[in-house]
Structures are given as C-alpha cells and as structure tokens.
Amino acid sequence: MNTANILEIKDLKVIYKTDLEVVEAINGLNLTLGKGKTLGLVGETGAGKTTTALSILKLLPSVTGKILNGSILFDGEEILKMDEKKMQAIRGNRISMVFQDPMTSLNPVLTVGDQIAEAIQLHNPEMSKEDVQKKVASSLELVGIPSWRSVEYPHQFSGGMKQRVVIAIALACEPELLIADEPTTALDVTIQAQVLSMIRDLRDRFNTSMIMITHDLGIVAQTCDDVAVMYAGTIIESGTAEDIFLNKDHHPYTVGLFNSIPNLDVKTDRLSPIEGLMPDPTDLPKGCAFSPRCPHAMEICHQKRPPVYTNNTHNIACFLFLPEGKQGNKGGEE
C-alpha cells in the first residue's frame, strides 16, 4: 500500500439502477492522487466525473446508485468497506467537497455562520461555543468575507459570495482531500478567476490534495499537477499536466477536446467540435467507448476495450499506440 498517495481508485464500477434501465456510469476507473497534488479530472457532461466524486464520499443516491466492485483507498484505508459512521467522521473532516451550483448548495433557512459552524461542531464536538464562533469568523475571513456577515442568510449573498461560503464550509476542518466539482461553472467569468485563485491559495496554504473536476482545460492548465481525461466512465488518458499539454501523443478524444477550443491566433470560420455524441450509458459499445466517434477507429477498437499504453507518467488507453493496434491480437485486462 503506497501511502504517498492520498487516494487510489482501482477498477471502480458504478451503476445507476432504475426499474427501467441500468446506467453504467463508471466502468473500471483507475485513478491515483499523490499527497499534496492537484488532479484535474476532465471530461464532457455525463462522463461520470461527479459520480466518481460522490463515490469517493459514498454519497451516491441511495436508492439507485450502486458501487459494483473496485476499491477506493483513502490514505491507505479502504473506503468502500467503511460503515456509515466511519464515513460521517471522514466527510467534511478529512475529505470535503465543493459542489457545482452555489445557488442551491446552501440551506436557505440557516445563516451561513450556522452552516459553517455545523461542519466544525460535527467533527470537533468538544470545542466550546466561543471557539466555534471564532473559527467560523476566521473561516469567513479566509475566503474574503467579513465575519460580521455570518449572521446573514444565503439569499443575502451573490453567487460568487455563496461559492466562497461553500468553500469556507469545505475547508473549515482543514481536510486532507478537497474535491471541487466544477466550482466555477455557475459563476461569471470575472468571479471565476477570483474564486479559482482563492482555491489555489488556500490549497497551497493548507497543503491540501485536490481533485479539480472541470470541463475547462484552461482551469486545468492553471491549477493542476496531474490530469486525467474521462470518457464514458473510464480514464482514457492521464499524466502530468506537461504530458497532457506538451506531449505529442494523445488519445484521439483528448485531441478532439483541444481542437474544440477556439484558437485566437488562427483565423477560422467554424469551431471544430468532436463529431457525434457520448455513447448511451445504458448501452455502451463493446470495444473502446470512443470508437463510434473516433476518426482513427480500427477494426479492433470496435471489438475490445483498449489496454493502457504507458510512457513514463503518461498513460493512454488507445490501440493506436500499441502493437496490437496494427495486428488485432489479444490486449491487456483494461
């Protein structure tokens, strides 16, 4: 067990099961995050980014969501084997999460001070009332909100301020791992930059490991040490930020992602999106999930899931870089 890694996810499989259908949200996902590192989890809507995050906290919808197999090691401990009591002690204390939409993620009938205090009290029951209040005040100051506003209600805050409050709640107990699920998607651009640089500063200050879930490659470039690109419930490419941004070899999906960003230096008439749609998660293709959209798809891509090609820290799950790609013989387990 490598405790230099704060988080190790192996072969995770998650489904959402309803009476009508089974949605295969996560299909054999592998992920590692080193202590103090920041991982950018990139992918389009529906790729399973949020499901991955909720699995780490075991907060999947209880009726439909199910973790079928795999392992999630947090600081060397198996999360999937922990009972609810143990999970409650971890949530908000050692692993925190910042959700996507600040407008709805605060309780409208409680003051923001109470909501921050709750996180502190839950994990420090012995702390006196005054100390909790002091901590609430300092948490607010930390995210750039004057502490007298702790008696105000969420509706008295703007979107960006609300997200700051959500971040203050997440960081109140100085967690070892912070999962930020598209923390800036719902904010306008100027506020995005502020919130993002604040998250970066606080991460460095507390030496928190972080998973930054986003579909914005610009944010990844600014904040992340490592990057994992997700497609249809699996990681199709991962590596250091240098690997992803500077290396020549890429998964065709990653290439498509980069191509769909408009380039200011080159004059073009049209944007170049990736053709086609994400595969239906209730009916995934047998081979590589990206093969129906892939411009380089070969015979073998439609038949088998590609194994991982590794070059130092850079991993790509694609037949293009593997000898089997040309010959079509048996691949690895992934």
Partner: protein
C-alpha cells in the same frame, strides 16, 4: 413585522365589507321571506307583509345593507334574529365556540397524525410502512367526513356502545366527531408532507449537509424538515376552512349545536341577521388563521421575513 401584521389586520375591513355585501346580495335574490316562514303557509298575505314590514325586511337591499353596517360598526349590534327574537350575538357566540373547539381538535389531530406519518413515509421511502400508509392515506383522503361519521356512529355507538352518539356534554362526546372531521385532512396532510419532504430531500443543500458529515438524523430534522414544512403550514391553514365547512355535516350527524348547522338551519327561514353575523365570524376566523400561517412562514423562512421587512415603507 408588526407593521405587516397591523396591515394585514386592516385587510379585515374590506374582507368583512365584501363578505356581507355578497351574502346580502345572495339573500336578496333567493325566494321566500321571513314572514311566510314564521307564520306558516296558511297565514293571510296581509299578516305576512305586516310581519316583514315590522322586521324592516322590505327595505331596499342597499339601504338594508347600510343600516346593518352602521348598527354593527357603531353600536356593535348584530341585530335581532328574525326567528327567535334573541340578540344575534347571544345566539351565535356559544355555537361558534363549539365549532371552533371541534375544528381545533380536528386541526390538532390531523396535524399530529398526518405530518409525522408523512415525514416517516418520506424518510423510509419504498418501505412497507411507506407503502401501507400511503395506500391508507390515498383512500382516507377520498372519504367524505360524513361517511366516516356514520361509520363511527354505527361501530362505536351502536355496536360497541363505547361512545355517546350525540351532544357535547363531555370530552367523550367530542371523540367521534373530531375523528370523523380530522381523518380526511390528516390523510391529505400526510400525502402533502411526504411529497414535500421528498422534494426537499433531493435538494443540493441536503447533499451539502451530508458531505459535511452530518448524521442522517441531523440531515432530516435540521436541513430537510424546515424547508419541507413551508407548504405544509399553508395546507394546515387551509384545512381549517375545510374543517369549518365540513363541520356542518358532522354537526348534523352527531347533533352538535355548532355554528355551521345553525347557519344552514336559518337559511330556510331567511334569518338574515344570524346568517350574516355567522358568516362574518367565520371569515374573520379564517383571515386570522391565514395571518398566523403567514407569520409562521416568516418564522420558518428568512427570505420571506426579508420581504416583509421591505414592505415597511
């Protein structure tokens, strides 16, 4: 907030004016007159006319209405009943208290049963408890109070001889009518609370609370319930209207001297003073209950409190 309450109380004035006007208008176009009802079908028309004249019944509609308002506002006089010749207030007040008592029991019972069952059914969604209570509530919400009243009479009074079947002499007399009157709204409350809880429990802030590490108990009581209660409080307030209206039938079945049965009785005699005074009393009660609901709303939801604070100017 106080200003808001005061303002709302001022709204009572147009409410009362409107209610009395409508009742007077409706009474003036319905056939029949108090003289004929009192003196009987065989009385000569001249006697009937004289009787009506003496009551002031024959005055033009609008003048009658104005006279009534002036007497009510400046002399606190609701007039004399055409039928019993007793002062109206003296006649309706004790009966009003009986109905309020019954409606109060109904509200308490329907809330105490409906809301907790609804909460539990939502928390244990898809459990046996949820399935059974939801099914029972589904049927009970469709049962009119009088059917339940008759069933109770048959079972508890006639067959088992456990409870008295009529009157209001003791507390035991209230049990059956209160049950009959509160079961349909209790079933509604339950269904309403359940759906409201299920709605609230899916909200993002509930997930935030869970992500903080809050135990399920805190998630339900602190984060979900208060948000889910808002529509339920309105529903309970509206129940009161239903209870008073439903009381008429239940009062009849259990021979309870309440205001509902009084008004219905006197409509056939065209006893205008009693009908109008009774209706006014009911509308004032209803308005005050809705005001209490609004104050509770503000207490529960800070966003609404803020809105009221802005209304000051």
């Amino acid at each position: 907030m106080y200003r808001y309450v005061f303002k709302r109380l001022l709204f009572l004035i147009p409410t009362i004016l409107g209610v009395t006007l409508i009742i007077y208008a409706v009474m003036s176009i319905t056939p029949g007159d108090p003289g004929r009802s009192m003196l009987g079908t065989s009385a000569p028309q001249a006697d009937v006319d004289a009787y009506n004249e003496a009551l002031g019944y024959n005055l033009p509609f609008f003048q009658k209405y104005l006279n009534y308002l002036i007497k009510m506002i400046f002399h606190q006089d609701f007039g004399i009943s055409y039928f019993t010749k007793l002062p109206v207030f003296q006649e309706i007040w004790p009966r009003f208290l009986v109905t309020i008592k019954l409606a109060f029991f109904g509200i308490i019972l329907s809330t105490l049963v409906g809301v907790p069952f609804g909460i539990y059914a939502a928390v244990k969604q898809y459990s046996a408890f949820d399935t059974i209570t939801s099914l029972v509530a589904f049927f009970m919400a469709a049962f009119p109070a009088f059917v339940l009243g008759l069933m109770f009479l048959y079972i508890f009074a006639l067959k088992l001889n456990l409870l008295p079947s009529y009157g209001i002499a003791t507390f035991a007399h209230y049990i059956m009518p209160a049950m009959a009157i509160s079961i349909p709204p209790a079933a509604q409350n339950m269904r309403f609370t359940k759906s409201s809880m299920l709605e609230a429990i899916r909200q993002d802030y509930v997930r935030t609370a869970r992500a903080k590490g809050a135990p399920e108990r805190t998630v339900i009581w602190k984060h979900t319930l208060r948000n889910a209660l808002l529509p339920v409080v309105t529903q309970i307030g509206l129940n009161l209207g239903m209870l008073i209206a439903g009381a008429v039938v239940v009062e009849r079945i259990f021979s309870i001297p309440g205001i509902g049965s009084l008004i219905v009785d006197r409509i056939s005699y065209k006893d205008e003073p009693v009908i109008i005074a009774g209706t006014i009393l009911i509308s004032i009660t209803f308005t005050i209950v809705m005001l209490i609901v609004d104050i509770l709303y503000a207490y529960i939801d800070p966003r609404i409190r803020a809105k009221y604070a802005k209304l000051k100017g």
